[in-house]
Amino acid sequence: MRLSVMMAVLGAAALVGAAFPAIAQQPAGSTPLPSASTPTGGAVTSITVPSGTRALFKIACAPVVGDADTSKTITGTETRDFTLSSLFQVLDPQSFTANLAVEGMSIDPASWRNVGAEGVVKGNAAMRGSQLHVELRLFVVSRGAEAVLSKAYDVAPGSLRSAVHQFDNEVVKWFTGTPGSFGTRMVFSATVGRGQKGIYSIDSDGQGLGRLPATTNVALAPAVGPGGSVYYAGGMADGSYGLFRVGSPVPVMHAAGLVFGVAFGGGKMALVVSSNGQSDIFVGSPDGSGLKAVTNGGLNTHPAFGPAGQLAYVSNQGGNPQIYVDGKRVSWRGTYNMAPAWCNDPEGTRILFMGRDGATWDVFSVDPGGSAGSMKRLTQDQGSNTYPACSPDGRMVAFFSTRGGLFTSNGDGMNQNKIASVTGESLRWEGN
């Protein structure tokens, strides 16, 4: 009995075994690696190396030959411009070991390379009559001892900073192909007393803060118009608001309603006119002719023209204030977004705006097309940050912060620098 059972079991096992296929082992996956190739005959191995890390271009602003105060102004302006640009790292003058007196207006590349400099700015300044003659040169250490950029300016002593800004813009142009925005100005409104607001102007590097003369006690929403004139919405004696130009005692436009904002760009003007509890945006010629409403009811404010004449504004037509471009909503996150400003970023045009996040405001950017996922946050957990503006070259962003002043950063919100201890609203950057 036992033998038969064993045979039966063996026979059945043989049948079962024949019925199932063998299980093949799968080869383990392998990660591809970069390869080196050795071409025949040449015996030269070739390797492909992807791009390295990004680093600020290290530049040295050498003391200028000439008057000590002039030298201090020039190097100080250069240092501030280059630092704010987010393109350069200005080296500490204490680290300079080069013998500047021997070098003169040239450089010894090896000497500057030893202190880590990749670029050097040198110059001299001397009075010629009533004018100050300033000569500035840019050297790139890897390019040798000859200057790659040389400029000379004859300016009044009071306009020295302006000349340096021009040179700094040329430096940026030499490196990037497009000039910088140094020397431009921003305008904004700020509280000057109980129930009173004034218009202010400040240079892009935080210098030259000054109040512009306004006819009215309440001056709001300034904008730079044709010819560099500054326009603003001003309250008049009868309780209405009109459009004023700095320097003009009478309103340049008084619409049938309250004028609460203005924008210029692309050869056009946009005007915010409020009446019967609603505000609409009218677009026409910069002289105020041919104005036609481009919005239809609700609250529509904060117009801003893009580089191709597109109009961005804030509208609550979707239920809460959001950013719109030519009638199309572009901000799809958050419940309260406002104050759009165009930014001609070299990597692509973007729209900056401020968004309310709980009890604070922060600065954001979004593609003009409002593509999904394009919204980026530039500030967070850094107080309340409001009213962004973008430099004409699109490389710098300015905004007010409850951290105590006017700040600038790059387009990603990095390299934040406080440039002035002043806060306000409706910040606009000239030329953008």
Partner: protein, 260 residues
């Protein structure tokens, strides 16, 4: 009188019967299945014409929580890694202790075929043939056309070492931010360096073999390589499998994301 031994079976009758029954069953069942298949084959299923069905739209899945439209996005802040650098192991074996493998030898000269023909012609051999007919291709189907190495272990070691050299150079190369990221993604520059037997870089081509079109980009790559020369910095030690390709040799470097 011889005693007659009585035969006594080892199994009982019922056990023998059960054994026969099981053996019969084991053989009869497969035979029955085969016969059934032969005499009653499975009916041929006619191919049905394809019927167009409506396509159901599908969306790509993305991991993560659904986006709350009321909530604003967070700020992206790049942070510098504090982790130690990972070193790529080029070879599991100590280079000095590993027995040298049989080398494939130097690559054949590029005109080897012509030389053979010339030799044949010189010998006036009337039977010399031009090897023009198709012959089996040597090497691996996924290998490089210019590759000469036939040993997979060497090829693998070479790839790992190339990755090590790539990481070594990449972490030392700093590209100035005055060049926009968009432009960096498009640029590629080629330089040739030479290393001594101790793997120290002693020569860097002063003008690029193929410039990228952006002088600053080219300068940043050359400055990185020149610093290796100035500081007498050695490249990582190559594994023995490929050291003849690197030690004391020239190396052509294609630098930049635009090279890929």
């Amino acid at each position: 009188m011889a005693a007659r031994l009585a035969w006594k079976p080892g199994y009982e009758g019922d056990e023998v019967a059960l054994g026969f029954a099981l053996a019969f069953a084991l053989h009869a069942i497969p035979i029955a299945i085969i016969l059934l298949r032969v005499y009653f084959p499975a009916p041929n299923v006619e191919e049905q014409p394809l019927v167009a069905q409506p396509v159901i739209g599908a969306t790509l899945l993305k991991l993560g929580k659904p986006i709350d439209p009321k909530r604003l996005p967070d700020r992206f802040v790049p942070r510098q890694s504090t982790a130690p650098r990972q070193q790529v192991t080029a070879s599991r074996e100590e280079p000095v202790h590993k027995n040298a493998l049989v080398d494939a030898g130097p690559p054949p000269p590029p005109d080897a075929k012509d030389s053979d023909i010339k030799k044949l012609i010189a010998k006036s051999d009337p039977f010399a043939e031009d090897g023009g007919k198709d012959r089996p291709v040597e090497g691996f189907a996924n290998g490089s056309d210019a590759g000469t190495e036939m040993d997979p272990s060497k090829v693998h070691a070479g790839s790992v070492y190339a990755a090590q050299v790539t990481a070594f150079l990449k972490e030392r190369w700093q590209i100035p931010t005055v060049i926009s990221q968009g432009e960096v993604n498009r640029l590629c520059v080629k330089y040739t360096i030479a290393v001594d037997p101790r793997m120290r870089v002693w020569f860097v081509q002063q003008t690029p073999g193929r410039p990228s079109g952006n002088d600053l980009f080219d300068d940043s790559a050359r400055s990185m390589l020149q610093k290796l020369v100035d500081d007498h910095t050695a490249l990582p030690e190559p594994p023995p499998e490929v050291e003849t390709s690197y030690r004391g040799q020239r190396i052509s470097l294609s630098l930049g994301d635009g090279c890929r």
